[in-house]
Amino acid sequence: MDQLNAFWETLKHSFRNLLPIILVVAVFQLLIMRQVPDGLLSITIGLLVVVLGVALFLQGLEMGIFPIGKGLSNAFAKRGSLPLLLTFGFSLGFAAVIAEPALIAVASQAELISEGRVNALTLRLIVALSVGAVVAVGVMRILFGQPLHWYMIIGYIIVVIVTFFAPEEIVGLAYDSGGVTTNIVTVPLVAALGMGLAASIRGRNVLTDGFGLVGLAVMVPMITVQLYGILVYSFGDPVSDMTAANGLAAMDNGLSGDSGPTLPEEASPGVLMGMLSDLLLMFRDVLPIIAVILFFQYAVLRKAIPHLPRVIFGFLMVIFGLYAFVLGLKLGLFPIGTSMAEQLISLERVIFIYLFAFSIGFATTMAEPALIAIGQKAEEAGKGRLNGNTIRILVALGVAIGITIGVHRIITGDPIHYYIMAGYTLVIFLTWLSPKYIVPLAFDLGGVTTSEVTVPLVTALGIGLATHIEGRNVLIDGFGLIAFASIFPIVTVMIYAIVVDMMAKRQQRLADE
């Protein structure tokens, strides 16, 4: 009964989260394009399925993923073996990334635009190895209780320097591969590992020490991928017999399909089979992570999982929720999103494109399930200092600003280099200024924003713009938007913390006088 009540609450909550999207679509359709969208019924059904999916997913996270992440890190802390803990961190990071469908898409695209200099599999391995390594480093940081901001400042200075030297073709991709490493399931799991570890050691704080693993996992691929790019562009030769069609197909597949199911074309007995196979695909995507968890739980720790039935049920809810969520998006949101983007572009009123980019960025981020979950965890860890809803609005605002700037870049055709270097210089500067308790959370939030909702929509927008504007290369200009979407939430969250901090100090001064 308890669970059912909680589920009902989540359901209502997740419906409210979807309101901004409905509002944006309605306003644009009715006021600007003055038409009732085609297929209103399928849109409505799709959005209802999304509501159900988000609710299932969130409830499942709470029952399955968060407890198991925390439980494992607690068990490793208790065991007291550093090598085991680090191996676990590495394996989790590696497994989370290696099978990530969005990364597979980005990698095959990289192979394509570099004319075979970049090998897709090597790229994936490099990203997975570097994420694994940096999760292990992040675990060490939690143990030592070192502040994250130095890691981030130094890391992003390296990012900016490397970007300066990296071949232009590879820059957008490198940033996107940082963004896509963290998906909707891995973010909560990796975050739970950090939070659980910080909670398991005396003197460590969940907010300042526990967060930050996701932020590190987003940053490091940007460095390694660009280094790899520099290397192959300096020494490698283009491989001429590369089958371009192959790469394009893979990319298409990965972008439109992501990890998600494909929309059933017609009602036939095939639909059910299709849905089943989509569901199986989703299982396959999380399989490496489940394998790592089971291996460490039963072969290394040799301990039963506490509350096992509930955890299994939670995992199933997460997968089914995710499935329903992606299916609903495809049914309800993506068709209208892309058709709206196309229509707006053909209107040739640039201001509407900006407005659309801003509002769709804001609205989709507000509905992002992983963000809802992390915002809630941050509120718990912040002990009254943070409010989950404020965090979400800030992040949504950041994504909106980021996408608008990214769209501006595509429209004007400016080189992506300078935008990204300027963006990260701002991030470095703010990291140095802002109150330190917010730094790990701010960087984690930058990684949370880029998952199943935002990525496909934003990529569709970028590709749409790049195809319709003369002189833009779809492969080069269509990408990189994801990077913008992950820079600016960091900026807005930190600026907010700086302002709050200044106001509190001012009040303190006034009270002292």
Binding site: K70, G71, N74, A77, K78, R79, G80, S81, L82, L85, L143, F144, A199, S200, I201, R202, G203, A304, P306, H307
Partner: protein, 119 residues
């Protein structure tokens, strides 16, 4: 009857079993609080850091006789004297409100009757 407040602090994974034992001994309402704790002697892990475990704090009310039995059962069945398991204490209650005492004792009577029939 002198009512006692029984407080059992157990490791996270023992929660379900502890609840079952308490209920078998007549506990009706059980409050479960999540917590983290440091054991004695302190468990030192890498770099001299102190381990902090997940634990659950169970609180329930029973009359003296049943409370003693529940405590003994918890201690015995969950092996509380081993490391990382937990402990159980009880305190006398001066006043209690918000519970239907008639309903509670009816439940306890039924429990006793069942036990007598089994024997």
């Amino acid at each position: 009857m002198q009512p006692l407040l029984v407080i059992a602090v157990v490791a996270d994974e023992l929660q379900d079993r502890a609840v079952a034992i308490a209920q078998a001994h007549g506990a009706q309402g059980i409050s479960i609080i999540e917590g983290r704790g440091i054991g004695f002697p302190e468990h030192r892990v890498f770099f001299g850091l102190t381990y902090r475990g997940y634990e659950k704090v169970l609180a329930f009310v029973l009359d003296e006789r049943r409370a003693r039995a529940a405590e003994a059962a918890l201690n015995h069945e969950l092996l509380l004297e081993q490391r990382f398991k937990g402990l159980v204490i009880s305190l006398p209650i001066e006043e209690a409100m918000g519970a239907d005492m008639d309903l509670m004792s009816a439940h306890l009577d039924k429990l006793d009757a069942n036990k007598a029939r089994e024997q």
